[in-house]
């Protein structure tokens, strides 16, 4: 009798876990699909992708979908790093926009030196990329030390660079606003002759590397463990300080790559206006991905889908030509809906309804209504 009970419990717990897993990816996907459907409804040609040519005659793909995939690059890359930081430190890094300005500024300074319109690049692009990433990682390390060693709340710790970062970027650029030669633009636009925008390829590369890292190393497991219970994980031989620090450095690396792509888009960086308000979009992407901003478990795929959802929304408001003053209101209204649907209260409500339906079906077998509350 006892063994029989255990198997039932086991089955039930497995089905609960299954339903949660299904939920975690299902909801972000549903949002994205919903937004895409709205877009198609408003503009039937939304999904159309056509082959065009740029002014030099090179083939390029043109289409809204291509634009969204390409423009979401920075958001996706930052969301990957932010997910890890959120999971390990139970807080968010609000300085990513400012530190992106720093790494973008470093890239421009390395490429242009002290000239505003140089005829050639002052350094190989790979050097600029590496230095840009190092600048991002240094900022990440600074935040990481404050959070992990000095136990400052992530939002307070990163507030420092949030406030000062753009000025630092301006100083790093020597107060200039240089414009690099157009060959630097290959990384944020197209490589001549290849029709797919380079940022899309970079995103694919970064996503593959991330997924492999999570699969092949213990980074994901350790991050989760530290986020769920730092004390318990330290009793189990992990070093929570080190792991929190590492996640911030990883985010810094992501910032470096994003800064490089962003500065390549128009081959210039304006430290004060580059990626305005991206911090909030990135945090929102993580939240839309079904992640708890309180840390612990995380869902990387969800964050990535969340990032694409936000970019779709931004792009939609742009093409709809919504009155500028109303854009933030529209965005907020849609986000409120998305976030409320995902709240634990609404989730519990639906689960209860589902459970009732199920129990009605299985009424012969008894009343086994259960509620899943996250």
């Amino acid at each position: 009798m006892a063994t029989h009970d255990k198997t039932i419990n086991h089955d039930r717990s497995r089905s609960i876990i299954l339903s949660i897993v299904k939920h975690n990816i299902f909801i972000p996907c549903a949002f994205l699909t919903m937004l895409l459907l709205v877009n198609i409804f408003i503009n039937p040609g939304f999904l159309k992708i056509s082959m065009g040519a740029d002014s030099n005659g090179h083939p390029v793909l043109i289409g809204n979908l291509i634009n969204i995939l390409s423009n979401a690059t920075e958001l996706v890359i930052l969301a990957i790093g932010m997910t890890l930081v959120t999971a390990s430190s139970k807080g968010q890094d609000i300085s990513v926009g400012a530190t992106l300005a720093i790494s973008g500024g470093v890239v421009m300074r390395v490429l242009c030196g002290n000239e505003t319109q140089p005829d050639s690049l002052h350094a190989p692009i790979i050097v600029a990329l590496i230095l840009g990433c190092l600048a991002g990682m240094a900022c990440g390390a600074f935040n990481g030390i404050l959070v992990s060693r000095f136990k400052i709340q992530p939002m307070i710790a990163t507030l420092i660079l949030f406030t000062a970062g753009r000025s630092i970027a301006s100083m790093a650029m020597g107060g200039l606003k240089p414009k690099a030669v157009s060959s630097f633009g290959y990384y944020g636009n197209f490589i001549p002759g290849f029709p797919i925008p380079t940022p899309i390829l970079i995103t694919i590369g970064i996503v593959i590397v991330t997924m492999l890292t999570l699969k092949l190393t213990n980074l994901g497991l350790y991050t989760r463990a530290v986020g769920v219970n730092a004390k318990a994980s330290s009793l189990n031989g992990l070093n929570p300080t080190m792991i929190k620090f590492l996640t911030f450095v990883v985010l810094g690396f992501c910032v470096g790559i994003a800064g490089f792509v962003q500065s390549s888009r128009v081959q210039t960086v304006n430290p004060y206006t580059i990626v305005p308000g991206i911090e909030m979009d990135v945090i929102l992407a993580v939240a839309l991905g079904g992640n708890s901003l309180g840390g612990g478990k995380f869902n990387m795929t969800g964050s990535i889908i969340g990032a694409y959802t936000i970019q779709t929304l931004t792009s939609m408001l742009m093409t709809l030509n919504v009155n500028t003053n109303a854009v933030p209101v529209f965005k907020a209204a849609i986000i409120v809906v998305l976030v409320v649907i995902q709240s634990s209260v609404v989730k519990a409500f639906f689960n209860k309804k589902m459970g009732e339906l199920k129990s009605r079906k299985n009424s012969g077998k008894g009343n086994d209504t259960y509620v899943v509350v996250e």
Partner: protein, 321 residues
């Protein structure tokens, strides 16, 4: 004992304050201090030229300059202006990020007897609250563009308006001119949104999105040079021709040197000047105020426009910024 120590310390504090004050006064002697509330350190090339012009002219005239930057934050600018008033600068020059919300600053300056000068962008203040104004007439700039467009006699006019920072007087004036121009001339505005921060990236994204969604347009009305450059980048990527010999006419504002080079190359059709060299004008204004001369209260800077059909190499070469 404790009381005695604290009293001594308090006295020392008071004396040190007095000493500071005395030193400040001594330093100020004979030298005019001008407090400048500037927008951003390197918002655009235009702004860089603007800042440089003021710094150089003030230094040459022997003024001491205290320049602070709002860095995109309107509230910060107001706090900075209040701070400068407390520091008792002799003149307060304000280049406001936003045109509204300056009443308290103006009143405080008036109470402190500090003349307030609005430069570059007009602020929404009543006449008695400021001393003088040296500004660009942004609406008039926009009207110049509208008149030029009218003279092109195009069959259909589908305009993409790339606006600047929402609420700045440059954006308000330039947008108003084209919106009214379109209404009276029966032109079609395909797109009209403001790009945060006046820079290339957002303008480029907007135009790329427009092209992808198949919107037809034949005029780009970009409210500064940088956004026009972003729009051109987007059209390049999609193989749309623009400029003097192209399908899309490009109108830009500010007329930086690099932008005039683009006008000369036929990439921009029209660039309307917004003169950033406020330094010398402010110096002569302050000098007349010092002498107690009567000054003209509201001065609009004279501005030219540059057409791709008529621009010459000499004009571009003469440009210093």
């Amino acid at each position: 004992m404790k009381k005695l120590v604290s009293m001594v310390l308090a006295l020392m504090l008071v004396f040190s304050l007095v000493a500071c004050d005395a030193k400040d006064k001594a330093k100020d002697d004979g030298k005019i201090t001008v407090g400048v509330v500037q927008t951003n350190a390197n918002e655009s090339d235009w702004r860089t030229a603007n800042t440089k012009s003021m710094n150089e002219a003030f230094a040459a005239a022997g003024f001491e300059t205290k320049m602070v930057f709002g860095e995109g934050d309107h509230a910060k600018q107001i706090a900075q202006a209040q701070q400068l008033i407390q520091e008792e600068v002799d003149y307060l020059v304000i280049l406001g990020l936003q045109s509204a919300g300056w009443e308290d600053v103006a009143k405080a300056a008036k109470e402190a007897g500090i003349p307030l000068i609005m430069a570059d962008r007009e602020l929404e203040l009543s006449e008695d609250l400021y001393t003088a104004m040296v500004c660009s007439d942004f609406e008039a700039e926009g009207v110049k563009a509208v008149d030029w467009l009218k003279a092109q006699n195009m069959d259909t006019v589908d305009i993409v308006v790339l606006g600047g920072d929402t609420g700045s007087s440059a954006q308000l004036g330039r947008s108003k001119a084209i919106e009214e121009g379109a209404a009276t001339n029966g032109w079609n505005i395909v797109f009209n949104q403001n790009m945060k921060g006046w820079d290339e990236t957002l303008a480029k994204q907007a135009v790329t999105d427009l092209i992808a969604s198949g919107k037809e347009f034949n005029v780009i009305y970009a409210e500064n040079d940088n956004m026009a450059r972003g729009a051109c980048d987007a059209m390049d990527a999609a193989g749309i021709t623009y400029g003097k010999d192209g399908d899309v006419k490009v109108i830009a504002f500010d007329a930086n040197k690099w932008a005039l080079e683009k006008v000369l190359a036929g990439e921009f059709n029209l660039d309307i000047e917004c003169n950033p060299l406020h330094g010398p004008r402010l110096v002569s204004l302050i000098q007349s105020l010092e002498k107690g001369e009567k000054v003209e209260k509201n001065v609009y800077v004279e501005e030219e426009m540059f057409d791709a059909e008529t621009i010459t190499q000499a004009i571009v070469d003469a440009r210093s910024y």
